[in-house]
C-alpha cells in the first residue's frame, strides 16, 4: 500500500492544514503589538511580559501543576494495581462490578462525573480545594492508566514471571524485578496521560474546586468567555510549545529504544 495518489496527497495536505493552521495563527498573534487580536500591528513580546506579571494566572498555574503531579502519581499506582488485578487477579467476588467501574468513567460525560463528585463532597462535608480536585482527577485518570497498563500486561509472556518464581523469587521480587521493568513503558505512558488529562480538565475541576483553589483551565475559561485576548494567546503559545517539545522528545526516545531493542535481538539471533 505505498502508492500515494494525488487524492491521498491532497487529503493529507488539507487534513494537516486543518489540524495545524488554527494553532499557528494563535501562536503568531501572541506576538502581536495590538490589543486587537485579529489586526497585525507589529512584533512584540509584551503580552508575555504582562502574563508573567499576572499573579492570578501564576497562582492558578501552580495549583494546576500541583494537582496534576499528585493526581497522576496516585492514579498511576492505583491504575497499575487495578490493571494487575484485572489481568492476573483471577476470579474474585464482584469482579464484574470492578471491571465495570474501571471502564465506566471512560465513557461518562464529564458534567456527570463532576456533578456526582461535588454532591459526594458536599454530602460528607469535605471543603472544596486542592484535595477535592486531586481526588476527582485521580478517580477518572486511574481508569485510563489501568487501560493502558493492562493492554501491555495482556501481551507479555507470563512464563517469565513463573520462571522468576521457580528460581526462588518472592512474588514481590518477581513483580519488581521482572514484571515492572517489562510494563514500565506502559506505566510511564499512563502517568503522562493522567498528567495531561489533569492539566487539561476544565469541567470536573470547575465542579470540585472551591474559591481557594482555581486551576489554570478555569481561569482561562472565564477569561475567554469574554472574548479573545492576546494574553491568553501568549499563555496558549507557551503551553503548545511545552507539549510540542515533550512529544518530539518522547517520540525520539521511544524510537531510539526500539532501534536498540532490534539491534539486541539481532545480536542475540547471531549468537545462537
Amino acid at each position: 500500500m505505498t502508492r500515494l495518489s494525488w487524492f491521498n496527497v491532497v487529503s493529507l495536505t488539507l487534513g494537516f492544514a486543518f489540524l495545524y493552521i488554527p494553532m499557528i495563527i494563535l501562536v503568531i498573534f501572541s506576538f502581536n503589538e495590538s490589543k486587537l487580536v485579529t489586526v497585525w500591528a507589529g512584533f512584540s513580546t509584551k503580552w508575555y511580559g504582562e502574563l508573567l506579571q499576572n499573579e492570578a494566572f501564576l497562582n492558578a498555574a501552580w495549583v494546576t501543576l500541583k494537582v496534576a503531579v499528585f493526581s497522576s502519581t496516585i492514579a498511576t499506582v492505583l491504575g497499575t494495581m487495578a490493571a494487575y488485578v484485572m489481568v492476573r487477579g483471577g476470579r474474585f467476588l464482584g469482579r464484574t462490578l470492578f471491571s465495570g467501574m474501571i471502564y465506566a468513567p471512560l465513557v461518562m460525560p464529564e458534567v456527570i462525573t463532576g456533578l456526582s463528585l461535588l454532591l459526594l463532597f458536599i454530602g460528607i462535608g469535605l471543603d472544596r480545594g486542592v484535595l477535592t480536585i486531586v481526588l476527582a482527577h485521580t478517580t477518572f485518570s486511574m481508569c485510563y492508566v489501568s487501560v493502558v497498563v493492562s493492554s501491555r500486561l495482556v501481551t507479555f509472556d507470563r512464563s517469565l514471571e513463573e520462571a522468576a518464581l521457580d528460581l526462588g523469587c518472592s512474588p514481590a521480587q518477581a513483580f519488581r524485578l521482572v514484571t515492572l521493568p517489562i510494563i514500565a513503558p506502559a506505566v510511564i505512558a499512563g502517568w503522562l496521560l493522567a498528567f495531561t488529562l489533569s492539566l487539561d480538565d476544565l469541567v470536573i475541576a470547575s465542579f470540585t474546586s472551591g474559591p481557594s483553589a482555581t486551576t489554570l483551565p478555569i481561569k482561562i475559561f472565564s477569561a475567554v468567555r469574554l472574548g479573545v485576548s492576546p494574553e491568553i494567546n501568549a499563555l496558549s503559545t507557551i503551553m503548545i510549545g511545552i507539549v510540542t517539545v515533550g512529544v518530539i522528545v518522547a517520540s525520539l526516545v521511544s524510537k531510539r529504544n526500539s532501534v536498540r531493542q532490534q539491534q539486541e535481538e539481532q545480536a542475540a539471533a547471531r549468537a545462537q
Binding site: M1, T2, R3, L4, S5, F7, N8, S11, L12, G15, F16, L19, Y20, P22, M23, L26, F29, V37, T38, L78, G79, M81, A82, G89, F92, F98, M101, I102, V107, P109, E110, V111, I112, S116, L117, L119, L120, A136, T138, T139, P171, A172, L199, D200, L202, P217, I220, F221, V224, R225, G227, V228, S236, M239, I240, V243, T244, V247, I248, S251
Partner: protein, 296 residues
C-alpha cells in the same frame, strides 16, 4: 493477604469515588428542591432509626423526571444534542477517513512522523484548541477577512455563536480520535487483497467500496464511538463557540446546577443522559464482541 490488599485498594477507591457519588445523584434526582443547605429534601436522618429511613423513602418521587418531560426545554436539548453529536460524528468520519487512508498509503518511513502529527494536537490543551477557533470564526476574524479579501463575500458571515461553529469545533477537537483507529485498521490490511479485487475485474472505486471499506469497519466503529460519546455530553464547545440558540444537554445541566441551583433537576438531567448513553455503549460492545469472535 497481599492479593486482598491489591484488590481492595483500587476497589474501595472506585466504590467511594465513583459508585457512591452516582448513587447520590440518583437519590437527589428523586428529591425535591428546597431553600435550605443542602438545597434539597428529604435528607436521610439516621438518628431517628427505622422510622427515619421509611419517611426518607416515602418522600422520594419521580417528580423531576415528569418535569423533564413537561418542560420542552429539556427534551429539545436532548434531541438537539443527539442531532449535533450525530452530524458532527458523520462529518468527522468524512474528513478523517481520507486522512487515515492517505496515512496508511504513505511510504513506511513517513508513517511514524504522520502519526506523531496526528497525536500532537491530542496532547495540546482542549480548551486552547477550542479557543483558537474563536479568533478565526468571529465577524472580524481571519476566515471573514480572507473571504472578503478574495471577494467571495461582501459582508462578513456570522459563524461564531451558531451551530456551525459548534460543528467545526467538535470536528476539529475530536478528529485525532477518528483518524487513529481507522488508520490502525487500514494499516493492518493486506494490500494484495486490493490487487486481487482489481485483477478480478473491479474498478479502483469498486475495490475501495467492496474491500477497503468493509475491512476498515472496526476502525470506523471505534472512531465514531470515540467521537459520538464525548460530543453528546459536550460542555466547553457549545459554551464557547455556540450561541444562545445552541441547546446542548451538557450546557443545560451546568446552568441548572450553577445558575438555577436546582440540584434535583440537574441530577435528573444527568440520569436521563446516562440512560441515553447506554444504548450506543451496548451496541458498540456487541459489535466488538462479534469482531473478536470473527477474528478467532
Amino acid at each position: 493477604m497481599r492479593r486482598f490488599f491489591l484488590i481492595a485498594v483500587p476497589y474501595v477507591w472506585l466504590l467511594a469515588l465513583f459508585l457512591i457519588p452516582f448513587v447520590i445523584v440518583l437519590k437527589i434526582s428523586l428529591s425535591d428542591v428546597a431553600l435550605s443547605i443542602p438545597p434539597y429534601t428529604p435528607t436521610l436522618d439516621l438518628s431517628v432509626g427505622w422510622q427515619g429511613i421509611k419517611e426518607f423513602f416515602a418522600a422520594l418521587d419521580f417528580e423531576n423526571f415528569i418535569w423533564l418531560t413537561s418542560d420542552d426545554l429539556y427534551w429539545k436539548a436532548y434531541l438537539s444534542s443527539l442531532k449535533i453529536a450525530v452530524v458532527s460524528t458523520s462529518l468527522t468520519l468524512l474528513i478523517g477517513y481520507p486522512i487515515a487512508y492517505g496515512m496508511a498509503r504513505a511510504p513506511q518511513e513517513w508513517r511514524a512522523t504522520l502519526m506523531m502529527l496526528v497525536i500532537l494536537p491530542f496532547w495540546t490543551s482542549f480548551l486552547i484548541r477550542v479557543y483558537a477557533w474563536m479568533g478565526i470564526l468571529s465577524n472580524e476574524g481571519f476566515l471573514n477577512q480572507l473571504l472578503m479579501w478574495t471577494g467571495i463575500i461582501g459582508e462578513p458571515l456570522t459563524i461564531l455563536n451558531t451551530n456551525t461553529a459548534v460543528y467545526i469545533g467538535i470536528v476539529y477537537t475530536y478528529l485525532p480520535f477518528m483518524i487513529l483507529p481507522i488508520y490502525a485498521a487500514l494499516e493492518r490490511m493486506d494490500g494484495s487483497l486490493i490487487e486481487a479485487a482489481e485483477d478480478l475485474g473491479c474498478s479502483r472505486a469498486q475495490a475501495f467500496w467492496l474491500v477497503t471499506i468493509p475491512l476498515s469497519r472496526p476502525g470506523i466503529a471505534a472512531g465514531s464511538f470515540l467521537v459520538f460519546i464525548p460530543a453528546l455530553g459536550e460542555f466547553v464547545i457549545p459554551s464557547l463557540l455556540g450561541g444562545s440558540g445552541t441547546l446542548m444537554i451538557g450546557k443545560v445541566l451546568w446552568e441548572e446546577f450553577f445558575s438555577n441551583r436546582d440540584w434535583p433537576v440537574a441530577s435528573a438531567v444527568a440520569v436521563v443522559l446516562l440512560l441515553i448513553l447506554v444504548i450506543p455503549i451496548v451496541l458498540f460492545q456487541r459489535n466488538q464482541q462479534k469482531q473478536a469472535e470473527a477474528d478467532q
